[in-house]
């Protein structure tokens, strides 16, 4: 993709000069180094005969360092006021790409430029679970760059938006996963970040919260920020995003208006391929990797 384009890609550069870019990703690779067995499934299939061989194989595999290319040669430009959904199957590198843009994982190759401070809070973001929601609001808010006084000023807003009420004075480990996710979302959006990244956070709330969070995302976009949203819910991406990136095995496969990209992605989902796997229920995520769409 980063094949040297002739300098005169007029349409792209003309469009770029009109809008202000907030994130530029150029030829980014992210490689993880993993230590350990190459085939974890081998131990399940082993019968007595192959056990001995298996021991040897595992012993050998333990010593090997494997590299996993989570993101391969991804390039795109995001602009202020855009809301970008990142879609793709499990393990396609969506979250890794998001973390790289957030500055949490350094890319192995390529370069990322950003304007302002990115704020990423996913459902897995671990705040301090033994402490009250109140303390976590201070820790999270200040980590996102707010001052103590600013957090204090927005405290009531955060609690109200999260809808957790009196529970804010209880330790976070007593929260339901929905309550915790709502509080995290409220904290991460309180800072009115330049670049807001949401990793699946919206999947956990109830209908009412989804509505309010959609409104909040729209509000942040209007403040000329850029919103990135990683989601498995195609409906969420359609509702909240005007643009979508489709990741497949670490490669950026499509980049365009959310409606079109989501439709193209849905066309490749298992239910559309009855001859391949007739027994797989359409809703369950397919454990096998479906045949990779061929490049044009």
């Amino acid at each position: 993709m980063a094949a040297p384009e002739p300098p005169g890609t007029d349409s792209a550069s003309a469009a770029a000069s009109e809008r202000r870019p907030s994130v530029i990703v150029s030829g980014v690779d992210v490689t993880y180094r993993v230590q350990g067995a190459k085939k974890a499934v081998a131990s399940v299939e082993e019968d007595d005969e192959s056990l001995f061989r298996g021991l040897f194989r595992r012993g050998r595999d333990l010593a090997t360092m494997q590299t996993v290319e989570a993101v391969k040669d991804v390039s795109f430009v995001a602009y202020h006021g855009e809301s970008i959904g990142i879609i793709g199957r499990n393990g396609s590198g969506k979250s890794t790409l998001l973390r790289a843009i957030a500055g949490l994982i350094p890319p192995t190759k390529g370069q990322i430029w950003i304007s302002g401070e990115p704020s990423l809070l996913g459902v897995n973001a671990v705040l301090m679970s033994k402490l009250t929601g109140e303390r976590n609001i201070y820790v999270g808010g200040q980590a996102l760059g707010l001052s103590r006084a600013q957090v204090r000023a927005r405290f009531e807003d955060i609690v109200e938006f999260s809808g957790i009420g009196e529970a804010v004075h209880r330790p976070m480990q007593t929260y339901s996963s929905g309550q915790a996710a709502r509080l995290r979302f409220a904290i991460s959006t309180a800072a009115a970040p330049d670049i807001l990244m949401i990793d699946e956070a919206l999947a956990t709330g109830d209908a009412d919260f989804k509505e309010r969070s959609a409104a909040r995302v729209a509000e942040i976009r209007e403040q000329a920020s850029t919103v990135f949203l990683v989601s498995h819910s195609n409906a969420t991406v359609r509702d909240l995003c005007n643009r979508a990136l489709w990741m497949e095995k670490g490669v950026l496969l499509a980049d365009g208006p959310a409606e079109e990209v989501v439709a193209a992605y849905e066309a490749t989902l298992p239910k559309k391929k009855p001859p391949a796997k007739p027994k797989t229920p359409p809703s369950a995520p397919s454990p096998t990797i479906p045949p990779a769409p061929k490049d044009a």
């Binding site: 993709m1 980063a2 040297p4 384009e5 300098p7 890609t9 792209a12 550069s13 202000r20 870019p21 530029i24 150029s26 030829g27 390039s75 795109f76 430009v77 500055g103 949490l104 350094p106 890319p107 390529g110 370069q111 990322i112 430029w113 950003i114 304007s115 401070e117 990115p118 990423l120 809070l121 897995n124 973001a125 671990v126 301090m128 033994k130 402490l131 303390r135 201070y138 820790v139 999270g140 200040q142 980590a143 996102l144 001052s147 103590r148 490669v251 950026l252 496969l253 499509a254 980049d255 365009g256 079109e260 990209v261 439709a263 193209a264 066309a267 490749t268 769409p293 490049d295 044009a296």
Partner: protein, 298 residues
């Protein structure tokens, strides 16, 4: 590779040069790596209120684990003093060369207790908080520093116990007691430097974590917690000086000099502690900063 199966076009990617030019034209900032050392230290200073929030949150989290909470920070050193007094004061009789052995021992236990807690917990500040590290971007040195600070806060009740014990053992209140906070501040700086180095080491290899309790145990025996280095090493000047001037024994000596009449103030010790404090803190920050981009990656 320019289009997906559905026919959605992939816009032409900018070349590396075009991307760099676009970034420059709009004033975007390159991500990744680490900021220059000076900038890093200035950022740490600017975010000191966050450091305080993290430290007090950390202290509250630890206290919340026990039902008696803060009371343990008082009871623990007292119980330690009692058991050490039974073993070393009565059974092994290591109190030679010391008049007020209870005062001497309790200072050793409390002051070394802070060193031990700071090193043990502070070195785990990165590997034990990976969730936080992976979720939020902030100068990573804030984590080990905040744990050191939180252990210092948790030592304060024990410091109050020390003062009471001094009064009980008839140490006269004097102006030199005002040096106690200075001694403690120097110790905090020394430990912060060591904790920063240890946190980086542990991030490189967690196996090192298994050696820390052993090292702490060894240092406890080498730092004159329950015996007088001056008395027991009086025939070996080099050994005595090395033991006296290492960063785990120095704070104990300084506090004894501040609070006890039998230990007059010896300024060269204070100068040595000052050098250690500045040197270790700068070295620790620098060594920690070198890996700034690598924390939370593995």
């Amino acid at each position: 590779m320019t289009s997906a199966p559905g026919g959605t076009p992939l816009p032409p990617a900018l070349s590396a040069e075009q991307a760099a030019a676009l970034a420059k034209a709009h004033g975007l900032e390159a991500l990744g790596g680490r900021p220059p050392f000076g900038t890093y230290v200035r950022t740490l200073w600017r975010r000191r209120s966050f450091l305080w929030t993290l430290a007090s949150a950390d202290a509250a989290e630890k206290n919340s684990e026990d039902r008696l909470g803060v009371i343990w920070t008082l009871l623990n050193p007292l119980l330690l003093v009692v058991s050490y007094f039974l073993i070393f004061g009565l059974l092994l009789d290591t109190k030679r060369g010391v008049q007020n052995f209870i005062g001497f021992l309790s200072i050793g236990v409390v002051v070394f207790g802070f060193s031990s807690a700071a090193i043990t917990k502070g070195t785990k500040a990165i590997v034990g908080n990976l969730g936080l590290v992976r979720a939020l971007r902030f100068p990573r040195a804030l984590l080990p520093l905040s744990v050191t600070l939180s252990e210092a806060i948790r030592t304060l009740p024990a410091m109050a116990v020390l003062i009471v014990l001094m009064l009980v053992t008839h140490e006269p209140v004097g102006l030199k007691w005002l040096l106690l906070p200075v001694a403690f501040a120097l110790q905090i700086a020394m430990m912060a430097g060591l904790v920063l180095m240890g946190a980086r080491l542990l991030n490189i290899s967690r196996d090192i974590g298994n050696l820390i309790p052993v090292a702490i145990r060894l240092l406890r025996y080498l730092s004159g917690v329950f015996f007088s280095i001056d008395h027991y090493a009086r025939h070996h000047e080099t050994v005595r000086d090395v033991l006296n001037l290492q960063p785990f024994a120095l704070p104990i000596t300084l506090v004894r000099q501040s609070l006890m009449t039998e230990f007059p103030i010896v300024w060269p010790f204070w100068a040595a502690a000052g050098l250690w404090a500045v040197g270790l803190l700068i070295a620790g920050l620098w060594l920690f900063w070198r890996d700034e981009a690598k924390y939370g990656r593995a």
